[in-house]
């Protein structure tokens, strides 16, 4: 098209609704970055749909001036699947929380990933149930004291990215609410990927689980506790870029780059297109033994579900012609009475 499109701004994506998150909640930052990147993605508001479940995070759709469904707990992936299968022309985002996506919605989540419907899931992981006032979630850490675990969580937490790898997601990324540049970049990458894009965002719930990710948020610590994945680049991190990650058999290890013994070339090079083993290994990098990777873990192309489904429809029409109801009704054995 050669007609110039109106240039959209973040404000064009701002709805008229009052925001109802607690002051200081990490959700604000994610909303801000989303509104910032939406114009850059270039899909107009009327072609964009946000679908969410229930939770603090799931209030998100009310705050963006696009189409939106604030649905029921855990079911956003299923609703979004139906929407995208029938309306592939739309840009569809799923907004969900750690409880919404991984507890009640865990099954829809893995099935969405395996089907590879072309939409973007943003999981606000605050390791807690915010909206219901502070029970533990599937990502809460062992020992965490919450309203429902006065003696500490005993459930071994789910690692959202490991689960996504298990379900063979084609795009997997992680970012941090307060790392606004990185977050904006990650959201854009998710939008650009054709297929299901899964982004885990470390999000601070300052009311019920304050500081759960402070290590990854604070400027003072984050360079040492996180590592930014960059495609084709060696895995280096640390404030002074003096540590790296090396592959040793099937294990990863942290190596010191200061003494020159280990060269950059010896390090693991990140490859977004690699087989999923690498992604799985990266997902296992956890504090305190490892810096936690942020960025795009994986970005590979595979046929999208809606293309495959609609492809069969097109093929059927091509092979058999557009269905004719009268013909169908009259097919097989029929008989006439009195005519």
């Amino acid at each position: 098209m050669s007609t110039t499109l109106p240039v959209l701004k973040a404000d064009d994506f701002t709805s008229d609704q009052d925001i109802r998150w607690c002051p200081g909640c990490g959700d604000y930052s994610i909303l801000a970055q989303m509104k910032k990147v939406l114009p850059e993605i270039g899909v107009p508001p009327e072609k964009t749909v946000f679908v969410s479940g229930i939770g603090c995070s799931s209030r998100f759709p009310y705050y963006v001036n696009t189409y939106g469904v604030h649905s029921i707990h855990g079911r956003a992936p299923a609703i979004a699947t139906g929407l995208k299968m029938t309306r592939p022309d739309l840009s569809v985002w799923v907004i969900t929380g750690d409880g919404d996506a991984l507890s009640i919605g865990g099954n829809h989540f893995i099935h969405l990933l395996r089907r590879n419907v072309d939409l973007n899931i943003i999981l606000f992981n605050n390791r807690i149930y915010g909206l219901t006032k502070g029970q533990y979630s599937p990502t809460s850490v062992e020992g965490q004291i919450t309203k429902s675990t006065p003696m500490g969580v005993v459930d071994h937490p789910l690692n959202p990215i490991s689960v996504a790898v298990g379900a063979e997601a084609t795009f997997i990324a992680r970012s941090v609410d307060s790392n606004v540049k990185h977050l904006a970049y990650t959201l854009k990458r998710a939008a650009a990927h054709k297929g299901t894009s899964f982004v885990e965002v470390y999000q601070n719930c300052n009311v019920f689980n304050d500081g759960a990710f402070s290590y990854a948020q604070d400027k003072a610590t984050r360079d040492d506790t996180t590592i930014e994945l960059e495609h084709g680049k060696p895995m280096i991190y640390g404030k002074d870029k003096d540590r790296g990650i090396r592959l040793n058999g099937l294990n990863l290890e942290v190596v010191d780059l200061n003494d020159g013994k280990v060269k950059e070339d010896d390090l693991l090079f990140h490859d977004e297109k690699a087989n999923s083993t690498l992604v799985y290994m990266l997902s296992r990098m956890r504090r305190p033994d490892f810096p936690e990777p942020i960025g795009v873990f994986r970005d590979v192309l595979s046929e999208t579900y809606e293309d495959a489904v609609r492809g069969q429809i097109d093929q059927a029409i091509e092979q058999r012609g557009r269905g004719n109801l009268q013909k169908l009704f009259n097919s097989g054995e029929t008989w006439k009475v009195g005519v």
Binding site: S15, D16, Q17, P44, P45, E46, K47, V49, F50, V51, I54, P61, Y62, N65, T66, Y67, G68, V69, H70, S71, I72, R75, A78, I79, A80, T81, G82, L83, M85, T86, R87, D89, L90, N107, H108, H111, V309, R310, Q312, I313, Q315, A316, I317, Q319, R320, R322, G323, L325, Q326, L328, F329, N330, G332, E333, T334, W335, K336, V337, G338, V339
Partner: protein, 632 residues
């Protein structure tokens, strides 16, 4: 094939009767369903009115020869209108002892009993848990027993084709069919077409063997002395037109196609397999060239939710299941109701509760679909009354869903779903359109679009993504009327609850009033619903023929009730509500109209027989005293 002449001529006497009920029973592996379907089609083509009742075991393949593995197919064909597959059997064809003993009770005294005598060996008796052969029992004197060595005769007949023993044995159902066809003067053409169509490609040896077996069966009938005459059932006088036979689930699928075409929509059909609803999925997934998108979801919740997503996107969204699956959908049905989006939820009922009797019929989900959601969450509920009616009812449901902007529930049941009847093929070009408009302009030029501003039917606009300027968010929290914004305002909540109720009530304005068959007032009104229509109608007509003052009001609209229903009820002294449950419609009727309706309730996984209903009607009208039964 020029078999026409040969296949209907007989040298024996022909006895003309007005109708015949026959049941074919055998092992699940014996092809009884196929045999029954062929007999049905052939009888339909012969111009008879027909009604069928297939009945098969829950197991995929229960151990051969056991009682659990018995599969049956009953068909009534007649020269008059029939609405049920028949109460009792004029003839029973039993392929093995297990089939015989589990079905004999339904054969009338003096009825024709044809058995494959080759399968009454000791090992067969043992499988059927029998000590002595039922053929040796004195009770056999009550029937016209014809023992046919079907296995051997078939083997001989197909010997020329060099089939394996197993393959040859498989032909014996066609032998049985031939015999039955001879017996009732049925034309073999359609079945021959079927045989050559099905086994034609490359496997013509099998096809030819089957044809041979079929003809051998026919010849056998013509030959043996035990069968002195055959029967003739004249064509029924049905309304003019072209007919075909249609099965309930198929009619449901085709009705959806028609509704889509009438409304200019494509179907998004999301489901999770479950007996007896799965066949709708199996049928619809064939119609991709109609633009139908079928989605087998990971579970029932995903199915209904994906349908909600598709509906939000502007598609014709449908989800189906049976009782246990509907139970899982209830939370999301409540969401769809809050979102005020059109959606069809089809419940093909089966025996409950829990997993219950998956392959048996029952009408016990009525309360679940009417009341089974949290909060005040009324929805229109429609119930099909027969296989062909499934075609109509989904179209009505889709009309309601789109005109009122809400989910609509359609009830079917295992009996309707698997049963079949002749269907007058409609002229597609004459189907009236269902008008749907998606707004393209804001209804609130001075402010933001108001997704919950309503029309005179209280329907909100179906604005769909992609439409510039109409961006809006919907959700399950209570919302302000008009703007659709979240609202905790007490008065708004009360208003919205009333609006949602009124929207459902408005459905009555879009639907025809209740019809009564029989006298417009009198002693007894039979109120029925769903798949019991045929039995109730037949019983009521029989009672009327005996001079009883009884009428039938068969309800297709379960919620809201037709607006004239209360007035109709008031014109009769007594009300009888026969149901295949413990009295669910009765509870609704009693609550609504404060009438001491009496229930006739059967919950055996089986349809009503006409005679039991007739007895009840007679009892209530003869005694003169009103029976009062409290619902518990």
């Amino acid at each position: 094939m020029s078999t026409e002449a040969a296949s209907t001529s007989t040298n024996k006497a022909i006895k003309t009767v007005s109708g015949i009920t026959v049941r074919l029973v055998g092992d699940s592996g014996d092809g009884m369903q196929l045999l029954g379907t062929q007999l049905t089609n052939t009888s339909a083509i012969a111009g008879n009115d027909i009604a069928t009742f297939p009945d098969f075991p829950a197991e995929i393949r229960a151990p051969r020869g056991t009682r659990a593995g018995v599969s049956g197919f009953q068909v009534q064909f007649a020269s008059h209108e029939v609405h049920t597959p028949g109460d009792s059997l004029d003839a029973l064809v039993a392929m093995n002892p297990a089939a015989l003993v589990t079905n004999l009770a339904d054969l009338v005294k003096g009825g024709l009993l044809i058995v494959n005598e080759d399968s009454f060996e000791d090992k067969d008796l043992k499988l059927a848990k029998l000590k002595v052969s039922p053929l040796e029992e004195p009770a056999m004197e009550n029937y016209r027993l014809v023992k046919v060595p079907m296995t051997r005769l078939t083997k001989t007949a197909v010997a020329e084709f060099g089939l394996s023993a197993k393959e040859a044995d498989r032909c014996k159902n066609f032998f049985a069919m031939g015999l039955v066809y001879w017996l009732y003067g049925r034309n073999m053409d359609a079945t021959l077409r079927f045989i050559h169509g099905k086994f034609g490609d490359g496997k013509s040896v099998i096809a030819n063997a089957n044809e041979k077996a079929l003809r051998a069966g026919w010849a056998f009938g013509e030959t043996i002395e035990a069968l002195g005459h055959s029967y003739n059932v004249e064509a029924a006088s049905l309304p003019e037109g072209t007919y075909r036979n249609i099965i309930g689930n198929q009619a449901m699928a085709w009705g959806l196609l028609a509704a889509a075409q009438r409304s200019g929509k494509e179907i998004f059909y999301a489901s999770y397999p479950i007996t007896p609803a799965s066949d709708i999925l199996h049928e619809l997934c064939k119609f991709k060239n109609f633009g139908v998108c079928t989605f087998q979801a990971e579970d029932e919740i995903a199915a209904v939710c994906s349908a909600i997503g598709a509906s939000y996107g502007g598609q014709m969204a449908v989800t189906t299941s049976s009782g246990p699956g509907i139970a899982l959908k209830t939370e999301a049905m409540g969401l769809a109701l809050m979102l005020e989006l059109p959606l069809l939820v089809i419940d093909v009922q089966r025996g409950g509760p829990s997993t219950g009797l998956p392959t048996k019929t029952e009408q016990s989900d009525l309360m679940q679909v009417i009341f089974g959601r949290n909060g005040e969450s009324p929805l229109p509920v429609l119930a099909a009354r027969s296989p062909a009616d499934c075609f109509e009812i989904v179209q009505e449901a889709w009309m309601l869903a789109t005109q009122l902007m809400l989910p609509v529930v359609v009830l079917s049941d295992g009996y309707i779903a698997n049963g079949s009847e002749p269907w007058l093929i409609p002229d597609v070009s004459k189907l009236a359109p269902i008008t749907i408009t998606h707004p393209t302009e804001s209804n609130n030029p001075d402010g933001v679009f108001q997704p919950y501003r309503r029309n005179e039917l209280l329907a909100r606009p179906w604005a769909i993504p992609g439409t510039e300027g109409l961006m809006h968010r919907v959700g399950g929290l209570e919302k302000e009327d008009g703007s659709g914004n979240i609202s905790y305002d007490p008065d708004n909540h009360q208003k919205m609850v009333h609006i949602r109720a009124q929207k459902v009530a408005n459905a009555a304005k879009l639907l025809p009033p209740q019809q009564v068959i029989g006298p417009q007032s009198g002693e007894l009104l039979v109120l029925s619903w769903g798949g019991t229509y045929g039995a109730c109608l037949t019983a009521v007509q029989a009672a009327q023929a005996q001079g009883t003052s009884v009428a039938l009001a068969h309800i297709r609209y379960m919620n809201p009730f037709p607006s004239n229903l209360g007035e109709i009820i008031s014109r009769y002294k007594q009300v009888l509500i026969p149901e295949l449950n413990m009295g669910q419609l009765r509870t609704l009727i009693r609550a609504r109209y404060l009438v001491d309706a009496v229930g006739y309730n059967k919950i055996k996984g089986k349809p009503f027989t006409v005679s039991e209903l007739l007895d009840k009607i007679t009892e209530m009208t003869k005694s003169g005293t009103r029976t009062s039964v409290q619902y518990q």
